[in-house]
C-alpha cells in the first residue's frame, strides 16, 4: 500500500508545537516552584492534545484537554495549595552526584531510544485512519463512533474492569484523605475558653512585636510602658533585635523610649516628624 503523504500544514504544526511541548516538559523539571511546574505541564499537555487532533484522533484530543489539563492538573493545583506553595524542593542531594548521574543517564537514554526509534521507523508507511473511521459510506461514521464500536465489542471486558478501577480509586481516595474523629471529641468554644482562662498565664493574646518600636521588623520586640522590651513579644525562632531608639544626634536621647511618658502624642516617637513638632 502506498500510504498517505504528510501535508505541509501538519509539518508546520509539529515544528511549532513540538518545541513548545519540549520546553514545557523541561520547564516542569527545572522550575523551582511547584506551581510553575504544574503550569508548564499544562502547556505540554495542551500541545499534545493538538497533536492528537492533527493525527486523526479528535476524540482523544478533546479528552486530553478536558481530562488532563482540565481535571487532573487542577487536582494537582488543589493539592499544591493544600500542601503549601512554598514546600519547594530542597537543593540538598541525599545521594551525592545523583542529579548529574540522572541527567547523564537521561541524555544517554534519550539518545539510544530516539536513535533506535528513528532507525526502526524510517520510511514507516502512514496508512491513515480513513479506512476505519472514514465518513460517508466508510466503515464507521467518524472517529468517535469507530472508537465506540471497538470499545463496546472487542474491549468490552476492559471497559467494565475500568469501572471497577474507578470506583476503587474513589473509595481509596476517600479512605486515605478521611480523618477519623469520634463524635464529641472536638472541643467546643466554651470548653476552650475555660481551659485558656484556668490554666494559662496569658488568657489574652501575647503582645505583638514592634509596639512602640522604631522598626516594623518582626524581630523588634514590643515595649513595656517603662521602655524595656516585653519578653512575651519575642518572636519564636528569631533573635530579638536591638533597634535604635532615637534618631542620631537627638538632644533628648537618653536611651528611653521617646513615646513613653512624654507629652508629644504618638507622632513624637517618629524621628521624621519630631523635627516638625518642635
Amino acid at each position: 500500500m502506498g500510504g498517505i503523504e504528510i501535508g505541509t500544514a501538519e509539518t508546520v504544526v509539529f515544528w511549532v508545537l513540538g518545541p513548545i511541548a519540549l520546553a514545557g516538559a523541561l520547564g516542569m523539571v527545572l522550575a523551582r516552584n511547584a506551581v510553575h511546574s504544574a503550569l508548564f505541564l499544562v502547556n505540554t499537555m495542551l500541545a499534545l492534545g493538538v497533536f492528537y487532533v492533527v493525527q486523526e484522533a479528535p476524540f482523544l484530543g478533546a479528552v486530553q484537554i478536558i481530562v488532563y489539563t482540565g481535571a487532573i492538573m487542577i487536582l494537582f493545583l488543589f493539592v499544591l495549595m493544600l500542601v503549601g506553595r512554598d514546600s519547594s524542593d530542597s537543593v540538598v542531594e541525599t545521594l551525592r552526584g545523583q542529579r548529574v548521574a540522572a541527567t547523564v543517564l537521561g541524555i544517554g537514554f534519550a539518545g539510544l531510544v530516539g536513535a533506535g526509534i528513528a532507525r526502526a521507523t524510517e520510511g514507516m508507511v502512514v496508512t491513515g485512519l480513513e479506512g476505519v473511521q472514514g465518513g460517508e459510506g466508510g466503515a464507521a461514521d467518524g472517529n468517535i463512533e469507530a472508537i465506540a464500536g471497538l470499545l463496546f465489542t472487542r474491549y468490552l471486558l476492559a471497559f467494565e474492569v475500568t469501572s471497577a478501577l474507578l470506583i476503587t480509586a474513589a473509595v481509596g481516595a476517600m479512605v486515605l484523605a478521611h480523618i477519623e474523629r469520634e463524635p464529641g471529641s472536638r472541643l467546643t468554644q466554651k470548653e476552650r475558653s475555660r481551659a485558656r482562662f484556668l490554666t494559662s498565664d496569658h488568657p489574652q493574646t501575647l503582645p505583638g512585636p514592634g509596639v512602640y518600636a522604631r522598626a516594623n521588623s518582626i524581630a523588634a520586640p514590643g515595649r513595656l510602658p517603662d521602655g524595656s522590651p516585653a519578653e512575651a513579644s519575642y518572636a519564636t525562632g528569631v533573635e530579638p533585635q536591638v533597634v535604635e531608639e532615637l534618631p542620631p544626634g537627638d538632644p533628648a536621647g537618653d536611651g528611653r523610649d521617646p513615646g513613653a511618658g512624654r507629652g508629644h502624642g504618638p507622632d513624637a516617637a517618629l524621628g521624621t516628624t519630631r523635627g516638625v513638632t518642635r
Binding site: I6, F14, A25, L26, M28, V29, S37, T44, M45, Y52, Q55, E56, A57, L60, V63, Q64, V67, Y68, I72, L75, F76, V79, L82, V83, G84, S87, D89, Q98, R99, A102, G106, F109, A110, V113, G114, I117, A118, T121, E122, G123, M124, V126, T127, G128, L129, V132, Q133, N143, A146, I147, L150, Y155, L165, L166, T168, A169, G172, A173, L176, A177
Partner: protein, 99 residues
C-alpha cells in the same frame, strides 16, 4: 517530515519525565513527571494507530487516560496523608522503611 518525528518527540518527553522523577524531591512534582511519561506514551500509541490504520492504539490510549486519572486521585490522597503526618511533601523525608 514523517511519523518518526512524533515518535522521537515522545521518546524525548518520556526521558525528560524519567529524569524529573529521578531528580526532583517534591512528591507532587515527581507525580507530574509520571503524568508526563504517561502522556508521551499516549502520543506514541496514537501515532502508531495512525501508521497501522487501526484504532486499537487510540482505544488503549483512552484506557491509559482512565487509569492515569484513577492513579492521580489515589496518589494525591497518599501525598496528602503523608503530608498530614510528616508536614512535608518531600520524598526524602518519608524514609521510615530505610532501616
Amino acid at each position: 517530515m514523517s511519523l518518526t518525528n512524533y515518535l522521537v518527540l515522545a521518546a524525548i518527553l518520556f526521558t525528560v519525565g524519567a529524569v524529573g522523577v529521578l531528580v526532583r524531591r517534591n512528591a507532587i512534582v515527581v507525580f507530574m513527571c509520571i503524568e508526563l511519561m504517561l502522556n508521551s506514551v499516549n502520543l506514541t500509541l496514537v501515532t502508531f494507530a495512525r501508521s497501522t490504520g487501526t484504532l486499537d492504539g487510540q482505544v488503549i490510549a483512552f484506557f491509559v487516560m482512565v487509569v492515569a486519572a484513577a492513579e492521580v486521585v489515589v496518589g494525591l490522597a497518599i501525598i496528602m496523608s503523608i503530608y498530614r503526618t510528616r508536614r512535608s511533601a518531600s520524598v526524602d523525608d518519608a524514609n521510615l522503611l530505610k532501616y
